[in-house]
């Protein structure tokens, strides 16, 4: 059976961009600051349009570079600037045991395992690289197709299931084993 999963798609040149994780994480850090400042004004002027604009921008921009699946709770900086939703099993906490000997995906043999890539790239990331060991909470499926940038500023993407949050010593930040 040929596999034509949305997770398998890659745009030309996107792998080259992702292979510069150190630059990407710096861009991310700056963008977070910039967007956090700009967003309140955006929200005031046109709350509904700004959501729509951001969804469009993310779908196109992150869609091109990361084959973004619009989960609405972006953790790229915690996962070696590699999108974990491109894993056909949607794993957010590392590779499964099905990785092939050549580092390729169990499900999509012609693609590298995104977690093999994530691990390598995280090693080159001075600022956020260590976050790859963070225990990521379950995905909030209700955020699908919403803007992860707005969710980040609003704090929506930080809300974990109440039981999860109660049990995690670091609250919404998740667990780290060291």
């Amino acid at each position: 059976m040929t596999i034509n999963l949305p997770e398998a798609r890659r745009w030309p040149g996107s792998e080259w961009i992702k292979n510069h994780p150190a630059a990407l994480e710096r861009i991310y850090a700056v963008s977070v600051k910039a967007f956090t400042r700009v967003y309140p004004a955006m929200k005031k002027i046109a709350p509904q349009s700004s959501e729509r604009v951001m969804v469009f921008v993310e779908a196109v921009g992150k869609g091109y570079v990361w084959n973004c699946q619009m989960c609405g709770q972006c953790i790229l900086h915690s996962t070696g600037m590699t999108c974990p939703m491109n894993c056909p099993k949607n794993l957010r906490n590392g590779p499964c045991g099905g990785v092939r000997a050549n580092g390729h995906c169990e499900v999509i043999p012609e693609r590298m395992c995104v977690w093999v890539q994530a691990w390598e790239r995280s090693q080159a990331m001075a600022v956020y690289g260590h976050k790859i060991v963070t225990l990521q909470p379950p995905v909030n499926r209700a955020l699908k197709n919403t803007s992860s940038w707005i969710n980040m500023v609003e704090g929506t993407d930080q809300i974990t299931p109440p039981g999860w949050a109660a049990a995690s010593p670091t609250g919404n930040e998740g667990l780290e084993h060291r």
């Binding site: 099993k89 794993l91 590779p95 045991g97 990785v99």
Partner: protein
Amino acid sequence: MFANSRLERVLRSGRFAVTAELNAPDSANPEDVYRNALVLAEVCDAINATDGSGANCHMSSLGCCALLVRAGYEPVYQISCRDRNRIAIQGDLLGAAALGVKNVLCLTGDDVTAGDQPGAKRVFDLDSLQLLHTATIMRDHGVFLSGRKLTTPPQLFLGAAANPFVPPFAWRPERMAKKIAAGASFIQTQYCFDVPRLRTFMQRAVDMGLHEKAFILVGVGPLRSDKAAEFMRTKVPGVHIPDAVVARLAGVAPKQKAEEGKRICIEIIQQVREMAGVAGVHIMAYRQEETVAEIVHRAGLFPRHAVGAHREGHVNQHAVHHASGNGAQPAHHAGQYGSASPGMASQGELQ
């Protein structure tokens, strides 16, 4: 002591543990489960019930576990994230605990494309770590993920899988550490046919002190022939078999191949037994359960002394002294051995 689990008791006693995999039948007849279990029960401390292994449809792992409990055996309930969402999984954890299941192995699961129904919807709502942590929350905090309170939390001995034999190799020990941090008290690895690779992995694990935080059981199994080995390493996700092993099987006469496969398995068991940090073996003999007893015998792992409910006191004190260099008692597990449930039979009584 989390669950008054027999497997946990054996592991804590410091004795080299043996678990085995039960192949769930394509049948609605309980006798088929009992028949497969009977040949395993005598020679192992717990029986793993697979959850749609290889994404092929079989009797459910919960169904198998319920039958195994009814027969007095000690099942390990395997849960994969492939087929059920968080609502179903949390419900099943309660159901399993109520049925008498005490051990749970939390798995990601093979992809649907590996099995006989590649058109099925893949769920993967939680991943294996989120599943582990969810089960831990339910047990230790007595709540669902939603925060809603449980009247009686499930008492479970939680485990996870590790695969030291596939990339990214450098991350594999870290990933196991992450699973242990998320709540795994025991680890069962993928099939080991590459002992040097395992040694590298275990050295790192021991350096990180992981063998003191969780019991690590190494997966082993007999290969029937070089053809079977070739099939497994190309078709079964995550199985790594070095060329040397396949060549060794190819080099013997057709009638000797099965025997050679068993011999390889026994040699691997003997090697991993000497390895620092290894607490036991997990024998996976797909559709050849009858060979497990022979392997256990020939590897010198028999008799399996029953660490039964009524004799736990002295067994556990003596066994610690006789522990065959399998590392220290896990520190954070230290505590009183809970009293046994009245219905629990020792293995001797089952036969």
